[in-house]
Amino acid sequence: MRGATRARWAVCALSAALVAAAAGCGGSGSGAGVVRSSWGDPQNQLEPANTNEVQGGKVLAMIFRGLKRYDPRSGAAENMLAEQIETADQQNFTITLKDGWTFSNGEKVTSKSFVDAWNYAALVDNKQKNASFFEYVDGYDKVHPSSGSATARTLSGLVVKDDRTFTVKLSTKFSTWPDTLGYAAYAPLPRAFFDDHAAWLKKPVGNGPYTVDSYAKGSAMKLTKWEGYPGDDKARNSGVELRVYTDNNTAYTDLQAGNLDLVDDIPSAQLKNVKNDLGDRYINQPAGIIQTLVFPMYDANWTKSGMEKVRRGLSMAINREQITDQIYHKTRTPATDWTSPALGGQGGYKAGLCGDACTFDAAAAKQLIQDGGGLPGGRITLTSNVDTGSHRVWLDAVCNSINNALGNDNACVVNPVGTFADFRNQISEHRLSNPFRSGWQMDYPLIQNFLQPLYYTDASSNYGKFSDPEFDRLVDEANAERSQDAANTKFHDAERILARVMPAIPLWYQNGSAGYSERISDVTLNPFSVPVYEQIKVG
């Protein structure tokens, strides 16, 4: 061990001699109170409005606080920096900020910090991947036209009243809009972001409980507790070290060897041992993720009359219970609607909305498919990328289940696609003429987020091009409701249409699974299956 330290020191001294940055070598005693956690290389630059995947989102959740925050347990949106968000007509909102918030570099968080950040995010020139989150704000079509260059630099719907107040005008009524504001894309940004963008990207500065200490892209990020953090969710540990792992098996091995404290993605190969290995230090709880099989409703074969029976029949032919048990060791839960239990009742989850159509019944499935005129061309193919997520395994299982129910070995075959990128291409170009996998991870814990972007006519992620005027009307009405309960009721009615028409088969809800070492305690996952780092205690 001593030899190892000496060698490492030598390498550090050498690299320090070559480049001035000796970060990561100094202070070997800084390990006390630090949570060592597994991480994946974020796909994009770490900007709030440019981060749309879990790994980058993890960091943003540590270094940023927005107007609202989702309760780590219930998922309910609660005011964070917002003192109040008022509206009289569900379309014009007045936002008042709490006093006393600053960024970790000392700059005050004002209404301008938000408005500037949002304008930056929405402007097409800045190529922010989450720009479409601002499409509800008035003037979005000017700063982000679907083609050509922007005719305005700022959103006309955003007006700064004073340091602590600004107003937002939406282009349509959207009663639950304030509850979406906990999403990272809506975070405030300090002046430093705009003044020296490159430097900010190297070492992001935010207003959350942690500050970035060092960031070596592709290998590690060290975060330290920000002592001056004004919020009441201060970090209970002295810092977090995020280590990039190329393979979650290695992360798990490191956890077993005591080199790592927290793994937030248990490799599927270890699921059968994990309870023995970790005991109650294994977490398996619902996350806001659902997997579905989407039908290409743009293909005439799938929309002719009677096909809704076939689609429902296929759904009934899938033995969800068995697949989630045997392949996923209960880290998936059979779906009974199109949302997620992580929403909770208040967010709009209601179990069983899919009804019989999501209950395995081989005989009824066969009957339904026959009544509907049989499978188009006598057989179907299921398409998914197979590079990650053990998709190949469950696709085979689903096909088996369908083949068994229909008593035909060739009724269903799998069409594996090598890479996620290729798969996304085929989907977005509407090249598939048979059902394909679609995973959806919620952005904010509201039923709206599970229905509108996916099934509303011409919605952004409506890959199957499902269109139903009745469904659209119900969603519009739900968005105009004053109370969330009333909105939820309308959304449930909309879900019943999905159950009847079955444009997408709900397969299962995905759980977050994590494991941790004996060194740390109070580990929880939030509804987005991201560890709540600031609550973790060390020692």
């Binding site: 030899g3 190892a4 060698a7 490492r8 030598a10 690299s15 990561g24 070598c25 290389d41 974020p42 796909q43 994009n44 630059q45 749309n52 995947e53 097409v124 020139d125 190529k127 991947k129 720009a131 479409s132 982000h144 036209p145 679907s146 083609s147 990207l201 892209k217 592709g218 290998s219 590690a220 990039v244 792992y245 190329t246 393979d247 098996n249 290695t250 992360a251 091995t253 490191d254 077993q256 060897a257 080199n259 590079d387 990650t388 090598g418 890479t419 996620f420 990128a421 290729d422 996304r424 291409n425 989907i427 977005s428 995973g439 959806w440 991870q441 972007p453 952004s460 992620s461 409506n462």
Partner: protein, 307 residues
């Protein structure tokens, strides 16, 4: 000799252009990478168009390639999606993989040739049979199996080494991954040198050397080994390139952030600048290693001389 080297170096140019174009074409054929950047969400058309424009993806293939080659010649290998210049990725990844390859090659040379010589000199005896059996076993075990097993035994069960390698990847942490990476090639080196030694030990010049009354040690090292090493050197030379490119599995298992890791990420995310850039460098390494091997021939066997 000098003219030979120059000719060889010039020959690399078409190979270089051809291979980069092939890789470029293959990555391009995988489709548009921008769609995947948006995850499960549909790409917003305006943003996606801007990103495509920035990455030159909206141009026809030959223009993309011309633009890319122009960039490369001025030392710019493009940018990965996370905003990092590919040259920066290379500066991080290549030294790590180079160290890993070095460790592996050293194991190959030291253990492989020693075992080969020993068993070659004791042809047909029990030591020879044991070595042959062992190498057979090693060759038949896939790298990921030996990798995970050794990692578990040494890293978790016995706690002798850390199961994963730190980002700085110092030599002492690379010993275990180096052995895993070297194992298969090591077995080949053993077998190659054994056969070669066994064959040459009956050669006339060895008999002459023995007849002259030279000490056995000198016969083996100066006469026998020098001639027998030619096929082994050929193998090790080509293996340098193969090890660097083929470290994907080993690097994944031991969490080494080297070339294999970057290539894997690049392919997974369909990031053509990363993939093409890294493979281009690997192609150059491969070509140079081959040249080096050819030059070594002349040193090992004076009869082989290049005009």
């Amino acid at each position: 000799m000098g003219r030979y080297v120059v000719r060889r170096l010039l020959q690399m140019v078409p190979v270089f252009i051809g291979s980069t174009f092939l890789i470029f074409f293959m990555v391009y054929a995988l489709g548009d990478p921008v769609a995947a950047l948006f995850g499960d969400k549909a790409p917003d058309p305006a943003t996606a168009a801007r990103i495509r424009q920035e990455l030159y993806l909206d141009e026809p293939l030959w223009k993309q390639y011309a633009h890319y080659m122009g960039q490369i010649l001025s030392g710019d290998f493009g940018t990965a999606f996370n905003g990092q210049p590919v040259t920066e990725l290379m500066a991080d990844a290549f030294p790590v993989t180079l160290r890993l390859t070095l460790v592996a090659i050293l194991f190959e040379i030291v253990i492989g040739i020693t075992l080969g010589v020993l068993s070659g000199l004791r042809r047909g005896r029990s030591a020879d049979t044991t070595v042959l059996l062992l190498t057979l076993i090693v060759v038949s075990i896939p790298t990921f199996v030996s990798g995970y097993v050794l990692q578990y035994l040494f890293g978790v069960k016995w706690g002798i080494v850390s199961p994963s390698v730190s980002p700085e990847a110092p030599f002492d942490e690379l010993l275990l991954p180096g052995i895993v990476l070297a194992l298969t090639s090591l077995a080949y080196v053993t077998r190659l040198s054994r056969t070669s030694i066994a064959e040459n030990s009956r050669a006339d010049y060895v008999r002459t050397a023995v007849a002259k009354g030279l000490p056995r040690r000198r016969v083996v090292t100066r006469h026998l080994l020098r001639n027998s090493l030619i096929p082994v050197v050929t193998f090790i030379g080509t293996d340098i390139g193969a090890l660097m490119g083929g470290a994907i599995v080993t690097e994944r298992i031991f969490n080494i952030h080297g070339v294999g890791f970057q290539l894997y990420q690049g392919i997974l995310r369909q990031n053509s600048p990363t993939v093409v850039g890294f493979v281009t460098i690997l192609v150059i390494v491969f070509l140079l290693a081959n040249l080096f091997v050819d030059l070594l021939y002349a040193v090992l066997d004076p009869r082989i001389r290049y005009a």
